[in-house]
Amino acid sequence: MQTILSIAIDALAFGMVLFIICIGLSLTMGLMRVVNLAHGAFAMIAGYIASYAARDLGLGYAASIFLAIIGTIVISIPLERFLYRRIYGSPELTQVLMTIGLTFCVIGITNYFMGPTLKIIPLPEALSQPLDVGFRTIAAHRLFVIACGAAVAGGLWYLIERTTFGIKLRATVDNAAMSDALGVRTQVVYAISFAIAIGLAALGGVVGAEFLPIEPYYALRYMVTFLVVVSVGGAGSIPGALIACLVLGFVDTTGRYLMPDFGNFFFYAAVILIVCLFPRGFLGRAQ
């Protein structure tokens, strides 16, 4: 019993970490219809900024997160303006080509300037303690991540489903030319959404750094995982992404506990099973 509970809580934490990193990608892929394989690259950039802020500038954790998000968005602005704007509405594979290229560049540049070693973002005292939850201890940081994930999910859902901005964004993605003809400034809508997605990537990269440590190859190393999770959830669906993260987190965690040798088997077998049952992902938007 204790073991089951313990695994469940690990699964929840792992799922939420996945969620917080992936949700920005779900937004870009599902709503902006940009297969942004460079998502991880932005998360990584944020990680480097946060690490720099915390270790070299001596800022606190919260301030580092804030600086990382702002910094990453600032870096992304020219990229949006000159690169991404060209591929909105292009075929997915063209987007794949460009964003992989971008990822390569980011990796190369980071490697050159920051060196290939791991970077850590020191946690504040409160978050770095293991916390006793009765039957076992769990890192306080994990609870923090769970909370962040929940907050992000709620806020984003409201923004997309309930605000006029969300409606305009979805309309733009559905048919940009027509939105334009109805007076929606589509470029502005895209730019703002892109900034939000990047901000989320940055947040995920920084608070998830305990699990997925920051190093130059980060951008490619976790690309597949992100892509899989987002698609299984149904790109663009926040509840879908949440369900996918929790389910896959659970399968992965239990699989690794029960039969560690076959850990990947369970994960990908689950993916195949889910996709066969839900051919558009859990809550994919119908096309």
Binding site: L97, G108, Y112, V224, I272, V275, P279
Partner: protein
């Protein structure tokens, strides 16, 4: 795109005969390039052979992505199936190279049947993810079955007997390259026939609107599955060629990375023409080779820059540039 399309309507639409001529010219050009590679870079034949093997893989991706619209990031599963089948057969005493290639092709086709059977249940992104899951499972299986595959150490010690009993697979790789080149040409010609057949046209239709195809009274699933099998055979041939020419098979040949790279090469060259697959492979691998020799430490940035530049200059892939140039000539009378 408009420009290119318009060019077709301005000039008289090429009919069946001129299509044939164009393909004949294309194939002659490819043979010439292949032969030129042999004479110009006699010291790089190992690389060129590898390019040929990967070109087969990229061609096979073009069949499903470019002609059927089924996105896949798992094609290396088929390549790897061919490579391992040939490798295992070779270790177990089948050493005749053409037999090994045939074994690879059959194994690839079988893997294609399996993969198609699973992947064609889903659509869009979900489909892409299925392909990733499949290649990861293949990878894992190859790692686990180390008694047969050598696991992560790779399957080494392939002793391939001389081609037709005459030509050794030597250090310089001449035999391997020429054999690969001939294989590639044969496959390319065969595929040109496939895509120009009614079956090929049906696939293009399915790519655009499967509902419409069904309303025309044609089944979608068996057609796509057939294409997967063909594509598997082509990928398997590539895998077997890689195994025969390098005499080792590693886990990288069933990896996601290889699949992804191959897809990138295809998109770089341009989808749905077969030529794009060849151009993309040669440019990508050639460029990578040159810059990584030039600067082994930071070449990745340059490859990235190349990809971005291609998207900005020729979003439809390098082959679309050819069309553009032709169109702009005609556009200015």
């Amino acid at each position: 795109m408009h420009i290119m399309a318009q060019a077709g309507t301005v000039s008289a639409m090429p009919d069946a005969k001129s299509h044939l001529w164009r393909d004949a010219a294309g194939i002659a050009l490819i043979s010439a390039c292949g032969a030129a590679g042999y004479w110009l870079f006699p010291d790089n034949l190992a690389l060129l052979t590898r390019i040929v093997a990967v070109a087969l893989l990229v061609l096979s991706i073009d069949l499903v992505v470019g002609y059927c619209g089924v996105a896949t990031l798992g094609q290396a599963a088929l390549f790897g199936a061919g490579a391992y089948a040939a490798g295992i057969a070779c270790v177990n005493g089948v050493t005749e190279p053409m037999t090994l290639i045939a074994i690879g092709a059959i194994a690839g086709a079988a893997a294609g049947l399996l993969m198609g059977g699973v992947m064609l249940r889903a659509h869009g992104l979900a489909q892409l993810v299925l392909s990733i899951a499949i290649v990861q499972l293949f990878h894992e299986a190859a790692n686990k079955a180390s008694a047969y595959t050598g696991g992560s150490d790779g399957l080494a010690g392939l002793m391939v007997s001389p081609l037709f009993g005459l030509f050794e697979f030597d250090l310089w790789g001449r035999t391997a390259y020429l054999m690969g080149l001939v294989l590639l040409l044969l496959v390319f010609i065969a595929l040109k026939f496939v895509v120009a057949s009614p079956f090929g046209m049906l696939c293009r239709g399915i790519k655009q609107d499967p509902v419409r195809i069904r309303a025309m009274g044609a089944f979608v699933f068996p057609v796509l599955l057939k294409m997967f099998v063909i594509s598997g055979a082509v990928a398997g041939t590539g895998g077997a060629l890689a195994a025969v020419s390098t005499q080792v098979v590693g886990l990288d040949s069933v990896s996601f990375e290889l699949s992804a790279n191959a897809l990138v090469m295809l998109v770089l060259g341009g989808l749905g023409t077969l030529y794009g697959a060849l151009i993309g492979t040669v440019i990508f691998m050639g460029f990578e080779h040159v810059v990584s020799a030039f600067n082994p430490f930071h070449w990745m940035t340059m490859v990235g820059a190349l990809l971005i530049a291609v998207v900005l200059a020729a979003p439809g892939g390098l082959t679309s540039l050819v069309g553009k140039v032709a169109a702009s000539r005609q556009g200015k009378p």
